[in-house]
Symmetry: C2
């Protein structure tokens, strides 16, 4: 009640009205529309189809659309599952699908073409409501109103039924995202009493072995229950065969289970379900359930979660002339605050990489680290508006390093598993960026040791050859040797910055040297980064446009050759200085690409591309800001405003690429406020062109930093001058200290390019 | 050292010299010859073959010989695994097989016919030494001396190698007893450093889901290591594919793994391995390892375990004229002290039936409850010589009941799993027997509630029909309806005794009435127990000799009709009184059985049979004592001495049937001392004919009870008179109080039958 009272007082501060969780649910965004609280461990969201990961052992490309379980154009909902990634380009999860039905019991999901053949239902966007921590939809086939809300660890379902003697709530333990026949290593179900069920699901997949425990309670006793085991091959049963395990038997285990619970309902009667998760045990799941939601007040739980969202979103108070831009902004901020997710029970228990139970002492443990994406802008954003959480995330990464068998910092980790996705070891960027910016609350020199040990793991990704040769030879990491080299070089620079701060000179020398390795794959004869073989020669056959096996992960030489975030000046000079570099960069945004490019390119559609500039994937996110390092920073201003407009729209298909756990959104937040962290690990933010007319950032240190754009308009995309705390700013960048001290940044906008003070 | 010193002082008391762990390892005994401590959690023993549980989905009867992993007549040893049942008639376990080899690495076990095709080795009984907590054998193919010893939770291996650059220690995670393709749900291996490895094995089998965690340490660093994954179908690998996971990679997971560790050895160099188990986690396994064996002193660990054995075996000090009988006796006592086994870490953690981690407060948690067998004589024996452990076992059973989804007491449980093996709910007999005999240290009325709840579980084994009709209808439990009825009736009598002791009259009335249900399946027209249908009529087609689907589990009507342990007098009267009953019983021991009988009979061979009397399986174990309830108790004396001689021999094939976790052996201990608990749940032991000339039982209460047989000889099998503490005993039974008060029981033996005082 107190929370609802406090809410009443700040009714005005209603930021969630500008959040549309449906943005990005069509095509490539891979976001989910369901209910969750900031960084919540439960993401309770509708899944609109169940596409197998592989058909006859062959990868099924259609599965890609369903990384978050939901595609806006789909006509049916299969059910509501409790775990989802936001915006990823590969997937897992979709645990514990719940679906209410009436009439004859159906234990198969059926097909989108013929939903009546299964338990799924048609739905319409007319009856669909998606808000932060609240989702509502009418399940048309059975005339059931479904509503969802959550706390950090508990999903709260409310299903309003018609009058019937045949109401069912189905719990599908087979359902999953990126699912295949033998993804379930084992699942287990205990009916503790007629309102309480516990169990777990153990899967083998992107997370090599992941077990999620649950406790589920109903607002009303079920009158009967049962299940079916769909395993093609039944395991040894022995004396279990003496039981009728399908009907009203309290303990069920197997690999392919679907259970159901039967009720009688009056017209308009709501049956509520609380479903708690734990990484550790069913006992902890039950404790999470009882401590987070002690009552059955759905609206109160919804309200409390929305209050949390208003508090988090209110940290940045912006004014944008266009309502659509307001929605873009606060939905981007919302998407930025979904991941990483809490991975810890209310009692502090969590499962470590060693698969043992650990206690998080003095920090909240997080998981879902999509670091190849999020080190770029999301974690830097956290250093401004979520510094405490970012410190806890770093402590979670350090625990990961301590507990993992490889003793490496996370590459891409979720649910006590390392999935090794993508390249580089960008944890070091997140750690260095926080350290350089003074956001520290843990043992920094231990953190440095963890970085160094990670960067010296020879068996990882040809690191041994990289350390010996100064680059990753194409013959050792076929197809991605150049991008791997460039990413290592940047990460090494981050380690050097941390070492310098700690005065660990030997380490500084080692890694500052390594950070220059980008030069070893630059072919000055053609002006591009290029695959190099172990013998030191560049690979002969080479296509600078193709993204197919040319040495770059998810990108082509054109885009990826611009990836030296720690030494843009060095890159520009290597590429012939401003005179040659600027037209080269101009053409990136203006050239026309052959269709073949799009057929070959993973993870990119036309929506995500401007010319040959690929905003839909991360490696280019800093590129528009490179003009700041030339004598034409006004082109950065122009490009940024164009990208903001073209790549982000307040519609389900409004995202040009995967949101990638908030990285795409974080780019929007920064750029629309007028600055961007081109080089995480430094304290600088390059200035662009603000889209906001006004923004106020409320800092955790109690200070505020405000941004103002005078003469702001669609046409006035150029910056005439910038005042920091009333004084002219004679540089193209802002420092983190400037921000943390609080104060004001005033941009004077203009319709025509202006040459800012030369960059030193 | 203190233990070794104390050992020095009581060198004389060397009981282990009379123990031969090889007894029962040939044919049907199903015992294992390896190393273990009393009730130890680790049973480190050689496995001589790897027979699949099923071939092309069809049960493979050959697997039955390998319930304990070892068959004496086999020519090869596959390796040494850490968990084994003793004497069971169904199986599981065989976890974590270790095998040392030299020369070219072989990662398959090979065949017995051609051991050179795999890592297994020939061996000879000439080089084999089997003692309590010590096993030694020469592995001939590779000239390696293998020695094994243990503590409660740690296996200690010592392998003496020849000089070689190619010494290997193989860790086979695929190997198992009652193994099949997909028995492994998952296995996991972490190389923590060059002497420490941790991991777990999760299986699906007799225990539906069983996970055993381990920590393994070497006395010397390995120079390299690796593994192979033999899974027919590889799980999703994703970015793990970037690693060479087969060679020197520290983290391995899969379903079919065999790992190896490479060493260089000098001639005669011993490599030692400590291998700790935990039911809960690898962290606990490591703690178990470090706390139980802090050093590398193999001989000291062996000595400490053998001291424990001498302490336990010394509780009964007997004299038998024949050395072979001394070996029979102390090997039987040894086999009686193997199960149930400790299931708890040194820190008190154990896994409960709810699969959660629990702390055992005030008791030691045990598992491996083969209750259909062991309630008869093993647990009664514990009430005399292991009262503290028996109380802890009962507390473990009560925890099981509390934590299981069915809230039933264990039927046959192991490793936090109920496997439901066999019939009845004989936990209640164990609890009532301890309670009636005053061996109590837990909440008795809670225990009674657990018994009652178990006995009212309608969905269990036609209990609903049994409660409604007063018998289990043959049409509901086809093939075993009669034996199930008889066992329920006896168990119900036990519950009544407990209720009476607690003055819970309503419960007493309910269950004393149920205890008479044996009468409902007795067909007086033929004088046998007989299958009865739901309509109250007896089944027409019926064969009193056949064990095949006649209504009795593992027995025929002839033997099982005599199973009314709680009312022998009532049974005898129903069967026509002494005049008809005695000749009937005589013929049981003398009649000739057709061959067909043996073909049909599960779990019984000719070795286990005398006439039609089946000693090789449990249901008849009380039968020889039934003469005590007639006017010819001397026939009990005669039969018992004959059975002792025929069914127990000091040789590998010396056991006539499965030892069944010590039940066969406990029968021997009691009977050779001259008394037997025909009716667990009463305080009476029926007197037979002692085989010992002298026996002294050292009780935990500090008192001693001595037995003496005057004029003892092979011929003098009859009892002329019995003096208890010098006074004539005018009854055919001894009471538990008589025993616990301490004192002396003197038998006067005679070559000719003597009629003892009439039975009241």
């Amino acid at each position: 009640m107190s929370l609802m009272a406090s809410w009443a007082q700040k009714k005005t501060a209603n930021w969630i009205q500008y959040v549309n969780p449906l943005i990005g649910t069509e095509k490539m965004g891979h976001t989910y529309p369901g209910a969750t609280v900031p960084f919540g461990a439960v993401q309770l969201s509708p899944d609109t189809d169940t596409i197998p990961y592989a058909v006859n052992g062959k990868y099924n490309p259609d599965v890609y659309k369903y990384c978050a379980g939901y595609q806006y154009t789909d006509p049916t909902i299969v059910g509501f599952s409790h775990t989802h990634f936001s915006g990823t380009g590969h997937s897992d999860l979709g645990d514990f699908l719940i679906m209410p039905t009436v009439g004859n019991l159906q234990l198969n999901p059926g097909t989108a073409a013929a939903p009546e053949t299964g338990y799924r239902s048609r739905f319409s966007h007319q009856t669909e409501v998606a808000e932060p921590n609240y989702y509502k939809v009418k399940l048309e086939d059975d005339n059931i109103l479904a509503e969802l809300t959550t706390t950090t660890r508990v999903g709260f379902h409310q299903y309003t039924f018609p009058k019937t003697d045949q109401a069912h709530i189905i719990l599908d333990l087979m359902h999953g995202i990126y699912n295949y026949d033998d993804k379930n290593a084992w699942t287990y179900l205990r009916i503790e009493n007629d309102t309480l069920v516990t169990g777990y699901r153990q899967t083998i997949g992107w997370a090599r072995t992941r077990t999620v425990y649950f406790a589920m309670t109903f607002s009303k006793p079920f009158v009967s229950y049962g299940n079916n085991d769909f395993s093609a091959k039944q395991p040894y049963r022995g004396f279990w065969g003496r039981f009728d395990q399908r009907h009203n038997f309290p303990e069920i285990a197997g690999k392919q289970l679907r259970a159901y619970f039967n009720f009688k309902t009056e017209e308009g009667e709501a049956i509520k379900v609380k479903f708690a998760l734990s990484p550790v045990s069913t006992a902890n799941a039950l404790e999470n359930l009882r401590r987070e939601i002690p009552n059955w007040n759905f609206n109160q739980v919804k309200q409390q979660g929305q209050d949390l969202w208003n508090m988090e979103l209110g940290k940045v108070d912006v004014k944008l002339a266009d309502k659509g831009d307001m929605i873009n902004f606060y939905t981007a901020l919302y998407h930025s605050f979904l991941s990483p997710t809490v991975y810890m029970d209310v009692n502090g228990d969590y499962k470590g990489l060693d698969q043992n139970r650990h206690q998080a002492k003095g920090f909240t443990n997080y998981t879902t680290f999509s670091l190849w994406d999020t080190y770029r802008a999301l974690h830097p954003l956290f250093n401004i508006v979520q510094p405490k959480r970012n410190r806890d995330m770093i402590q979670s990464m350090l625990a990961h390093q301590e507990q993992s068998a490889e003793h490496m910092l996370p590459i891409w980790s979720h649910y006590a598993n390392e999935n090794w996705c993508m390249s580089g070891y960008h944890s070091v960027s997140v750690i260095a960026d926080a350290a350089i910016k003074g956001n520290v609350g843990y043992d920094l020199s231990k953190a440095l040791d963890a970085c160094v040990q990670t960067a010296r793991t020879n068996y990882f990704d040809a690191l041994g050859e990289y350390r010996r040769l100064g680059y990753v030879p194409e013959d050792k990491r076929r197809g991605i040797s150049v991008s791997t080299t460039l990413e290592f070089a940047y990460d090494d620079w981050c380690i050097a910055q941390l070492a310098k701060k700690l005065k660990r000179n030997d380490i500084y020398d080692e890694f500052i040297k390594r950070s220059a390795n980008w030069r070893n794959v630059y072919d000055s004869s053609i002006g591009y980064m290029r695959p190099k073989l172990s013998d030191g020669s560049f690979r002969k056959e080479f296509d600078v446009l193709s993204t197919n096996n040319q040495g770059f992960i998810e990108g082509n030489a054109w885009n990826f050759s611009l990836y030296v975030p720690h030494d843009p000046k060095g890159l520009i000079n290597a590429m012939g200085g401003n005179e040659r570099f600027i037209p080269h960069l101009d053409s990136l945004f203006t050239m026309h690409l052959p269709d073949q490019f799009f057929e070959e390119t993973e993870d990119i559609t036309r929506d995500g591309i401007i010319g040959n500039y690929v905003h839909g994937n991360e490696p280019s996110h800093h590129v528009a800001y490179l003009y700041n390092f030339t004598n034409q920073p006004w082109k950065t201003q122009e490009r940024v405003r164009m990208i903001l407009k073209k790549q982000y729209r307040p519609a389900p298909d409004g995202l040009g690429g995967n949101d990638d756990c908030g990285q795409m959104s974080a780019w929007y937040i920064f750029s629309s406020m007028g600055f961007y962290p081109v080089t995480p690990g430094s304290d600088q933010y390059q200035l662009g062109s603000p889209a906001v007319s006004q923004a106020t950032i409320k800092l955790e240190n109690g200070k505020t930093f405000s941004i103002q754009a005078i003469n702001q308009s669609e046409k006035n995309v150029y910056v005439e001058k910038v005042l920091l705390n009333g004084k002219p700013l004679n540089r193209t960048y802002l420092t983190h200290t400037d921000l943390m001290n609080g104060g004001s940044l005033v941009f004077y906008m203009s319709p025509s390019p202006v040459t800012l003070a030369k960059v030193k």
